[in-house]
């Protein structure tokens, strides 16, 4: 199997979000970074599928030079190679991102059997890059997958819905977006990390299409205006709590 996993470098925001002065980005000074959570599970799934079915896996990102850190982290858990579409600091809108990813996929020597994406990125949450890529490549697409199994050139994908799971059987090649909970990503071994330092990363400068979903500025949601009511300290607060629960009609 030849598998592609697309990931995005996102900051770890902690308890508060702070914006840059021009309010066009999150201030990332003193913030750590990670691969967006859904995508980490996608990467883990790719490694497992290759372990099971043989073949190779590639991790791809569209992002600034620092995103190489995320590519190396993914290769440390077992992805074989990486493709880095290097951008300047400013973020790209989802349409342009998808187009650039499609360019890169078309430039690859071998076609992919399975293209894994996160359902949505933790930061921008546009929910559309994978679907656009699927349309451009004329591939079927299933989203929000939390259970995945490949056999006989087909992939069975399970989505969680209100009263259980919906399963799709889709022929490969296909685009699948996954959600955290699909699996538990493994903790990389140090030999894996050291090998990852030497694995190949193909870098390209992607062509940027004009932005049609144009971010003007970011702002924090208005405060809830809530003033928290301290019901008490320690177990002595229990009666006050039950009083509140009574008022809400749950007791």
């Amino acid at each position: 199997m030849n598998i592609l996993v697309c990931v995005k470098r996102v900051p770890l925001t902690g308890g508060k979000i702070v914006l840059t002065e021009d309010a066009r980005a999150i201030s990332t000074r003193h913030l750590g970074f990670t691969v967006s959570p859904h995508e980490e599970c996608g990467a883990e799934e790719a490694v497992r599928l290759v372990e099971q079915h043989g073949g190779s896996s590639t991790v791809l990102t569209l992002g600034p030079p620092e995103a190489e850190e995320q590519l190396r982290d993914m290769m440390a858990i077992g992805l074989d190679r990486a493709v880095h579409l290097v951008t300047a600091a400013e973020e790209w809108d989802p349409q342009a991102t998808a187009a650039a990813i499609v360019d890169a996929i078309r430039a690859e020597p071998e076609p992919y059997d399975l293209l894994l994406f996160g359902n949505e990125s933790a930061d921008a949450g546009n929910y559309q890059v994978a679907i656009r890529v699927a349309h451009a490549l004329q591939l079927p697409c299933v989203t929000g997958v939390k259970g995945l199994a490949v056999h006989d050139g087909q992939v069975r994908c399970e989505q969680e819905v209100q009263d259980g799971r919906d399963a799709y059987d889709v022929p490969l090649p296909a685009v699948v977006t996954v959600k955290e909970g699909l699996n538990l990503p493994r903790y990389p071994s140090v030999p894996g990390r050291l090998r990852a330092k030497r694995k190949p990363v193909d870098t390209y400068t992607p062509v940027r299409r004009e932005s049609r979903l144009e971010m003007v500025r970011l702002h924090l949601p208005p405060g809830s205006g809530k003033q928290v009511e301290v019901l008490g300290r320690g177990p002595e607060a229990a009666p006050a709590v039950v009083g509140v629960l009574r008022e809400l009609g749950v007791v």
């Binding site: 508060k16 913030l31 903790y187 140090v190």
Partner: protein, 658 residues
């Protein structure tokens, strides 16, 4: 015939020794050169002086008698062998010295007394530390030693009876007394031969048996003590990740991975169980026994099989139960370094197999990605200092005299935070020029290193050293003993050389100099020594001075370098505890002193012991020495942030500043 026996015995001895030295030579290298004067001193105190053993007087004396007796009686082996060949001959010069004969008599008796005491301890007293030891082997060895000493005395007795000895009876009082058992006739002549042959043959059998038993320690122990660590106990040896991939040693996965010192450790173990007795994990019903770890490793090393140490030699639970408190290392009479061994086992499990308790995974990921094990945003790191006017050092700022290294616990944990607030307030009151790094202070990497994730540790070390060096920091006040240990003892390996002082030591200095003047209130306060301060780094007095300045000190039995762990070390702050609770054990000990305050000098101890107090329903108040001091400096001190001080009510945890 003697020659044949000697050859056989020597041959068996030599063959075994060859196997053992082969294993030692094949072991991984380790650098334990340097600091020769210290090593010589260790030989003198630990080996000759039996210092570690004598901390328990009874068993210590029993062993010392046997050991010193062994040294004194060594020449009698040669004398006996000469006597086998020619009953009238002896060692030149020494064999003719009356004072030596006296020594021999006295020490032979002491040896027998030692053996009797040992048998009494093992058979009647039966202390728990022998659980898991091979008692049969020990009995055999004691029997052989007793036989050697007895046959020696009896041989001398028969020689005296036959008139073969040459000095007045005053020089051999015991042998002389025994000689009354024997006549002067043929029977005695026969017995004289019997005893000398028995003596020599027993020795030769012992010689052949020796390297195949734990009695090997009589040769190896002195070597192990020589190679023992001379630097601070808290420093772990780094892994060299720059080497070629195939040459990197990721801790100990199989017996072939053990270092020379580690193999030596396993050969030195006498199964005495003092480490097991000292271990807080074992004391609270966990699987871990440091003794069984070393014995298990020894068996694998000697079996020379290609097996995985965990779980074949040591169960995984043992590896993870360890809190790296070092009590085992402190009491070991032959300088075995159990903590290094366990960390090496962890290194392989974590770095190569990614096999470790799942609950520790978020902590490791958070250190890597968020730069602190709490997973909180670094931008929030200096929030504790918000209203205290503490200088936060930005890149390019003038370096302060002291860099106050707060640590993650005091930055993010609500109970530990008070320590930092108190310390900062006190430092300001005393006019100390200091600053904090705030968001640029990342985790020192201590929990990662103790877990065995050396790779992550080194990444943090390099990052922090770069920040500290760029800021031209020379002196560091460490808030937390774990940070203290890492900054002082481990960062030098990564280019970070700073003068590091623990906050309690600096505060004690300020009180001594009169720059801080606390008032006494006579409360009974018991001080809990943090393992990483007292045992690993010998910081014992400073915090006690602070306690004495504000209250009436009451000591627990297990204090100073004999302190009993709070349970948070070895990354256990983030791991679950199986079995009983180490912190509860310690809280009970503290409560039994009758003190109403339990003073600590470590944020982990603060949290663990306070948790213990809450679980146990005790009323004792757990508080850092800095906070105690701050409360007694000035009634309006900002350190208390508007809290009323009610001496009768213990302050509740998580108290919100008014």
């Amino acid at each position: 015939m003697l020659g044949a026996a000697v050859l056989v015995s020597a041959g068996l001895f030599a063959r075994r020794v060859q196997t053992l030295t082969g294993v030692l030579r094949a072991a991984q290298p380790v650098s334990r050169a340097g600091n020769v004067p210290r090593r010589v001193r260790n030989e003198a105190t630990v080996v000759l002086g039996q210092s570690k053993l004598l901390s328990r007087l009874g068993p210590g004396l029993a062993h010392a008698f046997i050991f010193w007796g062994f040294l004194v009686l060594l020449p009698t082996i040669v004398i006996a062998m000469i006597g086998v060949v020619d009953k009238t001959a002896t060692l030149p010069w020494l064999g003719h010295q009356g004072w030596y004969a006296l020594l021999v008599d006295v020490f032979a008796v002491l040896v027998l007394l030692g053996v009797l005491a040992a048998l009494w301890i093992r058979k009647v007293q039966r202390p728990r530390r022998f659980e898991g030891s091979h008692l049969g082997e020990a009995d055999l060895i004691l029997a052989l030693i007793a036989t050697i000493a007895t046959t020696l005395l009896l041989w001398h007795a028969t020689r005296i009876a036959l008139g073969l000895n040459e000095w007045p009876r005053a020089w051999s009082p015991v042998s002389y007394a025994l000689s009354h058992l024997f006549g002067t006739g043929q029977a005695t002549r026969v017995l004289e031969r019997v005893f000398v042959w028995a003596h020599v043959l027993t020795i030769l059998v012992f010689l052949a048996y020796l390297p195949r038993s734990k009695h090997l320690h009589i040769f190896i122990a002195a070597v192990n003590v020589w190679y023992g660590r001379t630097g601070p106990g808290g420093r772990l040896e780094p892994v060299d990740f720059e080497a070629d991939d195939a040459d990197i040693r990721f801790g100990s996965g199989s017996a072939a991975d053990l270092t020379f010192k580690e193999v030596l450790d396993t050969f030195s173990c006498t199964e005495c169980g003092r480490c097991q007795d000292a271990c807080p994990a074992f004391a609270t019903g966990k699987v871990l026994s440091p003794k069984l770890v070393i014995m298990g490793l020894r068996d694998q090393v000697l079996a020379q099989e290609q097996s995985t140490l965990v779980p074949d030699a040591v169960p995984a639970e043992s590896v993870w139960d360890c809190v790296t408190c070092g009590a085992c290392v402190e009491v070991c009479p032959v300088s075995i370094e159990h903590v290094d061994q366990i960390v090496d086992l962890r290194r392989h499990l974590v770095m190569v197999e990614s096999s470790f308790p799942t609950e520790a995974e978020p902590m490791l990921r958070d250190i890597e990605r968020a730069s602190n094990p709490w997973g909180r945003a670094q931008s929030e790191r200096a929030e504790w200092a918000a209203e205290l006017g503490v200088r936060v050092l930005e890149p390019g700022d003038r370096a302060p005299e002291y860099l106050y290294w707060v640590g993650c616990a005091s930055s993010f944990d609500e109970r530990a935070r008070r320590t930092a607030q108190s310390t900062a307030t006190l430092l300001k009151a005393a006019g100390i020029d200091f600053a904090i790094l705030g968001p640029r202070e990342a985790c020192t990497g201590d929990p990662a290193r103790r877990m065995g994730n050396e790779y992550l540790f080194q990444a943090m070390a390099e990052q922090n050293v770069a920040v500290l060096n760029e800021a031209e920091v020379t002196k560091v006040i460490a808030n937390c003993p774990h940070c203290f240990n890492t900054l002082a003892n481990e960062y030098p390996d990564f280019g970070g050389r700073y003068e590091v002082i623990h906050h309690s030591e600096l505060l004690a200095q300020l009180v001594r100099d009169g720059r801080l003047a606390p008032t006494q209130d006579g409360h009974a306060v018991t001080y809990h020594d943090s393992c990483y301060l007292a045992r690993h780094n010998d910081v014992v007095e400073g915090p006690r001075e602070l306690v004495a300045a504000v209250g009436r000190p009451v000591e627990m039995a297990r204090s100073g370098k004999n302190t009993f762990c709070c349970g948070a070390g070895g990354a256990h702050m983030w791991m679950e505890e199986r079995g009983g609770s180490i912190n509860l054990e310690r809280v009970n000990e503290a409560a039994n002193t009758g003190a109403d305050t339990l003073a600590v000098a470590c944020p982990f101890c603060t949290v663990m012991l306070d948790d213990g107090v809450q679980s146990a329903g005790e009323k004792i108040r757990v508080v850092d020495v800095a906070t105690l001091l701050a409360e007694r400096i000035d009634d309006d001190a900002p350190a208390r942030r508007g809290e009323r001080v009610d001496d009768d009510a213990p302050v509740r945890r998580g108290e919100r500043p008014a």
